[in-house]
Symmetry: C2
Subunit: 309 residues, 2 copies
């Protein structure tokens, strides 16, 4: 079943201890869509400038991603510059040029209207709410956000959260959103804000899902589930790891069509698998060359890494 993702398609200039890349293809929607495309059909809503060429678009269409919802405007695409030289765990933002993104007003092509799954990547919650309102009939709506929106645009964010089935954020974001330093307590508070499924990402330590027995109805027992991250000796570029996790996670759920505990658990593993590939090379390089066989082989490694038998 189809996922509609709305978010940034952008260019990133990245410096890490392993080298530099200038203006490589990036953005949350790009990383999410590429990862999810290994599991299901993906449709993208975003805005780009004249620097986004046919060659860039082909990175997406080669993975059969529907790009009809990418609006082309005069000017330049969103451009982020960041450095991981001081720490691979914390991006230092050197520069952010919103460019065409500044006036982004998401429009949903009629061909996208039958999308059953919606992912609101990390953008202004006002835009997230706008898209959510235009897609009232989706089976599941998940989203992402970041500290900037949590602290500075709280009310707008809370409005979106009411209409989300699930939220994927990291430790620090969850604690900030819930005003609680205990993850279990934070998860309970975030459930009350709307999302009945919460995935908290712990970076190199994996991720924890807190989910209800059955989001389509029935009893609401909350399960915690912990998925490992792969211990990696070399992390070339962490950019997009979280979005790739989200793409693997939500892509697998969409491919199964329903969110049973068994599906959520496997989705957590696929999220970790896609995140582990994303960081092996710069930008989208590794995911571009990835095969389904490699995904299956790494899924087996994740099982060996965490299962008693």
């Amino acid at each position: 079943m189809s996922i509609l993702v709305v978010g940034s398609v952008a260019f990133d200039s990245i410096e890490t201890p392993h080298g530099k890349r200038e203006r490589c293809l990036g953005g949350a929607a790009t990383h999410f869509a590429l990862a999810a495309s290994f599991f299901t059909d993906v449709r993208v809503i975003a805005v780009v400038g004249e620097d986004f060429t046919a060659e860039h678009e082909a990175v997406l269409t080669r993975r059969r991603i529907d790009t009809r919802g990418i609006e082309h405007l005069p000017g330049k695409s969103f451009h982020w510059s960041g450095s991981y030289v001081k720490s691979l765990n914390d991006a230092e933002t050197l520069n952010t040029e919103l460019n065409v993104f500044e006036t982004f007003s998401p429009k949903i092509p009629s061909a996208y209207e039958d999308s059953e799954f919606l992912f609101l990547a990390n953008i202004d919650p006002v835009l997230q709410a706008n898209v959510r309102a235009q897609m009232p009939k989706v089976r599941l709506a998940f989203g992402d956000t970041m500290n900037y929106w949590i602290t500075g645009h709280t009310e707008n964010l809370l409005k979106v959260l009411k209409h989300l089935d699930g939220l994927l954020i990291n430790d620090g974001e969850a604690k900030l959103l819930a005003h609680d330093t205990n993850l279990v307590a934070a998860a309970k508070k975030i459930h009350e804000l709307g999302p009945k499924t919460l995935v908290i990402k712990h970076g190199e330590y994996g991720a924890t899902a807190f989910f209800s027995e059955n989001v389509f109805g029935g009893k609401r027992r909350v399960h915690p589930f912990r998925a490992p991250a792969l211990p990696l000796e070399t992390v070339v570029d962490p950019t997009g790891a979280g979005d790739s996790f989200a793409g693997g996670f939500f892509g697998y759920i969409a491919s199964q069509g329903e969110m049973t505990p068994a599906v959520v658990k496997r989705a957590m593993f696929y999220g970790g698998v896609m995140g582990s590939f994303a960081v092996e090379r710069f930008g989208t390089e590794r995911i571009q060359s990835l095969t389904r066989d490699e995904i299956d082989a790494r899924f087996a490694i994740f099982e060996e890494l965490s299962h008693l038998e």
Copy 2:
């Protein structure tokens, strides 16, 4: 099979957001021995003062722990005061009184000489080396250490590590010891220092074991294995969580008598289980009241928390 543990038997004065305790029974050897006693026979080598009463000793002997190696000296026992009020993840040491521990010279009773498993809890590496040298025939020798010994007593520590089969430390200690911020690279460097099995504890995120196929010989493929920690809404007192983890981990290995990958994996889970109980109440309170049935029930929760099926 019997474990001999050498380390501190002490009194702790602890303050956490959940309350205070003055001079409750603690010390690494105490927490380790109590946790390990649910799996195998345990013998303790330590030194205490006149404030260590028959009532304190009974906490150990009620769990059938052999206390003949606890030396009684005039004066007071080791006393640590700490606070977790600022953060449950970092103990703030308010005061340390070594007392009788200052002149501790471990003596091994002849009744202990047939111990097959040796655990060197976190004490001066000179004392660890002393005990290791007195027990040349143990099947497996594991140990613990801390930043203080890693940075200030490096040479002495390196001498002990050469004669250890395994080491249990936390993330920060592993990175400090290996001079490497990447855990996989750090694990490889620590393997080179001696211990062929390394357990790195990640606090609330669980723990990772890096272990060889078979430490008793054969090929040396290194497996990583990640065990979860239980997401807990309430942590009353983190003191002794790491020592309880070590007791569950090494206690289970000793109970099985050999260190196959399957045994190490289950040992990691038992470590997590014992750590999760330890923090539920102050000091040794929770472990004192614990039953084997509760351990088995929580082991099943750890499986549900991390396994796909």
